[in-house]
């Protein structure tokens, strides 16, 4: 399974989100590749992904993608990421 984390500029928040998503996946015992992308490359990367994690502001910017788009409010909360991932994977 492929998961993309998206932020606006590709240097900060998507990396943070990727690290915490990986922690969440380990806790869920789910095997997946997590890739950090910025909004520019995200649409392309999302074509082969099952789930996209991003912030509320970027959902519109991201537009239509075949993957499931999941909004994360608190990028530092592994608990929130875990709960939302669990819901989308189920």
């Amino acid at each position: 399974m492929k998961i993309i984390t998206v932020c606006g500029m590709g240097i900060g928040t998507s990396v943070l989100l990727k690290m915490n998503a990986e922690k969440a996946l380990r806790a869920l015992d789910v095997d997946a590749d997590v890739e950090a992308a910025d909004i520019g490359t995200a649409r392309g990367a999302a074509r082969t992904a099952q789930i996209v994690l991003t912030s509320a502001d970027l959902v519109e910017e991201l537009g239509q993608v075949p993957a499931k788009v999941v909004v994360i409010d608190n990028f530092t909360s592994v608990a929130e990421i875990q709960a939302k991932l669990q819901e989308s994977i189920a």
């Binding site: 500029m9 240097i11 900060g12 943070l16 509320a56 608190n74 990028f75 530092t76």
Partner: protein, 157 residues
């Protein structure tokens, strides 16, 4: 051994008890801190503000916390961090995480050269007690001492 953020953050790039009238001023303070560290020029500050104008307050990544940054650009000469603790929280317009009382400025030259710094930052931000201690710090020295203690695994409460 995790990176000690206190070593990445020169004291000139840390302010506590700062006053900002609005989110632009708060970002200016974060930008000034990055300039003071020698990592960026003032253009980067404008770029960080433009990023929020363009994409909305997506940088407010957790309750009360903004991670100010923009794309790698000619305005960045190396990876840099700044830290701005606000005396009064400021609205950024984020539906879930406003208002903001801590702005961390980040500058990078490329998309993956600062993984260790991000990893250390992620660790600090995930530690609720540690973050509370950092927010309570009354001076730049106290922020740095706390960051250093956190990297050693001791949380001051």
């Amino acid at each position: 051994m995790p990176v000690d953020l206190a070593e990445e953050l020169p004291v000139e790039s840390v302010v506590t008890g700062a006053r900002a009238a609005d989110w632009r001023e708060a970002l200016r303070l974060a930008g000034d801190g990055l300039v003071a560290s020698g990592a960026t020029t003032a253009d980067y500050t404008d770029e960080m503000i433009a990023a929020v104008d363009e994409l909305g307050p997506y940088i407010v990544i957790a309750p009360g916390l903004a991670l100010a940054h923009s794309r790698p650009s000619p305005a960045v000469s190396r990876t840099g961090l700044s830290w701005v603790g606000l005396a009064e929280p400021v609205e950024f317009g984020h539906k879930a995480n406003d208002p903001v009382d801590l702005v961390i400025g980040l500058a990078a030259l490329d998309h993956d050269g600062h993984i260790e710094v991000m990893s250390a930052l992620a660790g600090v931000l995930a530690d609720e007690d540690g973050l509370a201690a950092l927010r309570a710090a009354g001076s730049p020295d106290e922020v740095l001492r706390t960051l250093h203690a956190l990297s050693e695994g001791d949380v001051e409460s």
